[in-house]
């Protein structure tokens, strides 16, 4: 099930809210939440529910074992075994095909590559569970003694299939206590509505634009005019941020509605002035995961230069691979790694920070733009055609009337989406609030707006979803 569907918003979520309002006892609330989450997950094929439950069971046992063996020094082994088991499962389901295909290229073996369907959300919940096990090992949190509570954490429908990667220690107390405050629910409502609208109106619109302009086989894409390729890539760049951050917004919003506090996952990445900054603002929960559970254990930046470079390369190829089992993701990730190293060791962060924003921002945006093109096409032929197409190197035209029409049809929409990627809206509202404070009448207008805008966005999103001709789910690879 996806958040951006009429069925989820008007059926599943309503029933979920009713259950959370009617049930008073936190334990009952949690049981209801677990049932809803399991149904939600099962919607994509109940088979994989067993995998999720199994992995949660492994980590549940593993963490308990860590706790028990702590005095006897066996806890490190318990942690390693548990994490290795999780990674093995992730590896089998996500990377078998990829590794065998690559292996076959060099050795010609094996003959048949097994087709394993990727269980939805596996990368998200595996990482969540790993973070739990490691945190128990590090004594950052206590092990959860109830299996079903750990399963609830792993399967919680707010974030199970599209992030953010929530740490157990961040929501452990929320899960036990579940206090809800009007202010938080109200914030949750508007956050959810904003997320829904971001997905249904903006991201889906960008997706339509991106995919109508540039679609099909490599040969078909070779005829698309350069401006078409550029516009499509721009739309894709907008889509991927709006879509992804919309899911996080909806997750955070729904969390607030029932007293669960998730951390922010995006912080306007497209206004970054350096690649380092971009990755501090983009998919924060993933970067933090790699920082805390891979980079720092490897020694981080407090070691020799050679080791540092090695660490960075490991981190960035893993980041790439996490996004999909395909070489283009590795290239995409390593590319960022290399750029980060250039920024850190060759240019120097201080020197780069002195570059005026008017130059550094466009440079970063251009890097990100090219990055998303590499990210978008998993097969090499298509990627080559598209990259060449940008410069009319396929013998394609520069411009065509139909590209012009499409651009004109979406011009205000595109401007709006670009602005929506910046904190401009938030800043503007702050200004307005500052300006109207003390002016009673304007204040009441603003108060009315505050009350109704989430509902307006909900209705508008519902209308957009009703047409639902284009509503892609981007995270099936993750």
């Amino acid at each position: 099930m996806v958040f951006s569907s009429l069925f989820f918003v008007f059926f599943f979520l309503v029933l979920n809210i009713i259950s959370q309002v009617v049930l008073r006892n936190p334990r009952h609330k949690n049981i209801a939440m677990l049932i809803f989450s399991l149904v939600f997950y099962a919607w994509g094929g109940p088979r994989y529910l067993l995998l999720l439950m199994g992995m949660a069971a492994i980590c549940w046992v593993g963490a308990l074992r860590i706790e028990q063996t702590r005095t006897k020094n066996g806890h490190k082994a318990a942690m390693i075994i548990t994490v290795a088991a999780c990674l093995a499962i992730l590896g089998i389901f996500k990377y078998t095909g990829f590794f065998l295909t690559t292996f076959k290229k060099f050795t010609g073996l094996p003959e048949i590559i097994p087709q394993i369907a990727l269980p939805i959300g596996i990368s998200f919940y595996t990482f969540q569970l790993i973070s739990y096990v490691v945190d128990v090992y590090r004594r950052d949190t206590e092990a959860q003694h109830k299996y079903w509570m750990l399963l609830l954490y792993a399967s919680l429908f707010h974030q199970c299939i599209a992030g953010p990667i929530v740490r157990y220690k961040d929501i452990a107390s929320d899960l036990e206590k579940r206090t809800t405050k009007t202010g938080e629910i109200s914030r949750g409502v508007s956050r959810f509505a904003i997320g829904l609208a971001k997905k249904a109106l903006l991201a889906n619109g960008c997706a339509t634009l991106a995919d109508t302009l540039l679609t099909g086989t490599a040969a078909e894409m070779a005829t698309v005019p350069a401006t078409g390729v550029m516009l499509s890539s721009l739309a894709y760049m907008l889509e991927i941020y709006l879509d992804f951050s919309a899911y996080s917004d909806m997750a955070i919003g729904m969390g607030l509605m029932c007293g669960l506090h998730y951390r922010e996952n995006f912080n306007y990445p497209y206004i970054s002035r350096s690649v380092t900054e971009f990755w501090r603002r983009w998919h924060i929960s993933l970067s933090m995961f790699f920082r805390d559970y891979v980079y720092i254990p490897l020694g981080g930046s407090r070691c020799s230069l050679g080791r540092q470079i090695f660490n960075l390369l490991v981190i960035w190829s893993l980041t790439g691979l996490w996004h999909g089992a395909s070489w283009n993701f590795v290239i995409w990730g390593l590319g960022y790694g290399v750029l980060l190293m250039i920024e850190r060791y060759i240019i120097g962060r201080d020197r780069w920070n002195k570059v005026p924003a008017a130059i550094s921002r466009p440079v970063v945006l251009l890097i990100v733009y090219v990055g998303w093109i590499i990210f978008r096409f998993t097969d090499r032929a298509s990627l080559e055609v598209v990259l060449k197409g940008l410069f009319c190197m396929n013998g394609n035209a520069f411009y065509s009337t139909s590209v012009g029409i499409t651009f004109k049809n979406y011009i205000f929409f595109l401007i709006f989406c670009c602005v929506a990627c910046t904190p401009f809206g938030v800043k503007l509202m702050e200004k307005i609030r500052g300006a109207v404070s003390g002016k009673e009448r304007l204040r009441s207008v603003l108060a009315v707006w505050d009350v109704i805008y989430p509902t307006l966005l909900l209705v508008l999103s519902a209308m957009a979803l009703a047409g639902d001709s284009y509503n892609p789910f981007l995270y099936f690879r993750f």
């Binding site: 989820f8 049809n409 009350v451 209308m463």
Partner: protein, 563 residues
């Protein structure tokens, strides 16, 4: 945006606190610029000498109290507005939830989109395990949601804000890519076409194995390389489809809706271009399809040329007539006129082709195509009829000889396929009709064999806005006929047509005693053999739109008719 309001209040509180401290300090050091605040003003001491320190402290305490009150009032306000926000949101969410629960209000067909809506999935262990059952429920829920069509229409109006929408392209054909059209079907092409005809014959022989099933050929033909086994499989699939279709038709029950909705929607393929308030269908040429069409019609001609005269008219899209070639090519599409000429150039000389495209272009400024639908108007078909008359060598009737009736308020396929583009909604069509003089009575035979008496020009004033083109011959039916008593020479015509033909049939009524028309998209093999043997047809007119003609679906259907 949502979390700023709280930040904002926090920020306010902080500044207030700071101001408070500053103010108190100012008072204590007897800064005269105390405040403009009303409460403080009234209590401003007259002179510093007479003021005791505790009074000052009292003042500052009062001020603090007042600030606290204001704070709590603000908090209260945010609390109230937060509560209202939650309530409003939940109420609206709940209203949508309840609407979604009203089972009887859920439609099973969409008249506007001319399709059967998704059915509630049937439960099987397999579909349950792989998730199809659940995803089926989601699709069913959204597809049959009671307010769906009005919600889409509303959203399309909203989308007008997205940009300058004086011109729009609605992409429906994902494989749309223009091929160059050769000037004529030269020998090399004919060689390949005879190659293609071999393949068609194979597929035809398969259709003999699977009798009563024209669509079996369609599928077999679609994959030219398909071996017999595959073709048989295709036949099976088609078989199930046919049964389903038949069931659908039976479901519809109501006479006016007996046409199979899924078939009727097949007419419109390709992308839609909207310029101003007019819709146009775009055509993409595919040489293999065109060549196969040539070979299909040549084969038909070989079979029937000693029995009847064979006429062929390929009807172009409105875009070919009303827009110029350069515009079409700049949109990445092909000019239908060239494609039609190419096909005509490859046909046997004995086939009497009617150059509809030129005939229509002479009247391009008249109302010959609908703006919101892909069909030509009856006026458009009138000019095609005049062209037919000149090929046949008879005198056409003048338009003034017929009685005209108009049915306004037609919003056709471009409107529904563009997801209800507001530009088209603002420009609804009028269906102008001219009744034949000889007779307006006809009979149609539905897919299940039932005969229904109908009108050649029916009254559609009360029909749904999207179905008004059904004024002509009651829409598409497998087989229909009319008898004109005013003519007693035994002359008979058979029209093998798609839906464009519906508007054309009325003009023929005053020239023949017996008028038969069949729609090859239905299973009509039986009918055709009967027609040939029992009724003695003089003229066979093949009418197809450029898209249908070059689509394998129809070609194979035509091929089957030629048997």
């Amino acid at each position: 945006m949502n979390y700023t309001d709280e930040h904002e209040t926090e920020h306010d509180i902080k500044t207030n606190d700071r101001n408070d401290i500053l103010h108190t300090k100012a008072w204590l050091t007897q800064s005269s610029a105390a405040d403009e605040d009303d409460i403080l003003h009234t209590e401003t001491p007259a002179s510093w000498d007479g003021v005791r320190l505790d009074a000052l402290q009292e003042l500052s305490a009062r001020r603090k109290q007042w600030e606290k009150k204001r704070e709590s009032r603000e908090r209260h306000l945010t609390e109230v507005s937060g509560l209202l926000r939650i309530r409003l949101f939940i109420i609206v969410l709940f209203v949508f939830f309840v609407i979604g629960l009203v089972w009887p209000a859920r439609p099973d067909t969409s008249v506007l989109e001319k399709r059967k809506l998704t059915e509630f999935p049937t439960f099987t262990t397999e579909s349950f395990l792989d998730g199809d059952f659940f995803s089926g429920i989601s699709t069913w829920y959204a597809d049959t949601y009671p307010l769906r069509e009005s919600m889409i229409a509303g959203f399309m109006k909203f989308k007008n804000l997205y940009g300058i929408r004086s011109e729009q392209l609605i992409r429906r054909d994902s494989t749309a890519a223009r091929e160059n059209i050769p000037a004529s079907a030269d020998e090399s092409v004919l060689a390949t076409s005879s190659d293609a005809s071999d393949k068609t014959e194979t597929s035809v022989s398969v259709s003999v194995d699977a009798p009563q099933n024209t669509e079996a050929t369609e599928n077999a033909g679609a994959g030219n390389t398909a071996d017999a086994g595959n073709a048989a499989d295709a036949g099976n699939t088609a078989d199930t489809q046919n049964t389903e279709d038949a069931a659908n038709t039976a479901d519809a029950g109501n006479t006016e809706d007996t046409e199979d909705t899924t078939v009727a929607a097949m007419d419109l393929q390709g992308d839609i271009y909207i310029s101003g308030n007019n819709g146009y269908g775009l055509y993409y040429f595919h040489q293999d399809q065109a060549d196969q069409m040539i070979s299909t019609f040549n084969q038909i001609y070989d079979k029937i040329h000693d029995k009847a005269n064979m006429y062929l008219m390929i009807v172009p899209n409105g875009s070919a007539v009303e827009l110029n070639k350069a515009t079409l090519e700049s949109l990445g599409a092909n000019y239908d006129g060239d494609a039609i000429n190419y096909i005509y150039s490859g046909l046997e000389d004995g086939i009497k082709t009617i150059d509809v495209c030129t005939a229509l272009k002479d009247h391009k400024n008249e109302y010959i195509y609908y703006h919101t639908d892909h069909h030509w108007t009856q006026l458009g078909s009138y000019y095609a009829y005049r062209a037919f008359c000149s090929v046949k060598g008879i005198t056409p009737h003048e338009l003034s000889e017929f009685t005209e009736t108009d049915y306004p308020g037609f919003l056709g396929s471009y409107y529904s396929e563009s997801n209800q583009a507001p530009a088209l909604a603002s420009n609804p069509d009028t269906v102008h009709t001219w009744k034949p003089n000889g007779t307006n009575d006809m009979t149609f035979v539905s897919a299940d064999g039932t005969k229904t008496n109908w009108w050649i020009i029916g009254d559609v004033s009360n029909a749904d806005a999207s179905t008004k083109y059904d004024a002509f011959t009651g829409g598409d039916n497998p087989f229909s006929y009319a008898h004109n008593d005013a003519i007693q020479d035994g002359s008979s015509v058979l029209v093998v047509k798609d839906s464009y033909g519906n508007a054309f049939i009325p003009w023929l009524v005053d020239h023949y005693e017996n008028i038969y028309w069949i729609d090859p998209r239905y299973d009509t093999t039986d009918t055709v053999s009967k027609l040939e043997s029992e009724y003695g047809i003089d003229d066979v007119i093949y009418e197809c739109s450029i898209y249908n003609g070059t689509t394998t679906v129809l070609q194979d259907a035509y091929a089957a008719i030629g048997q």
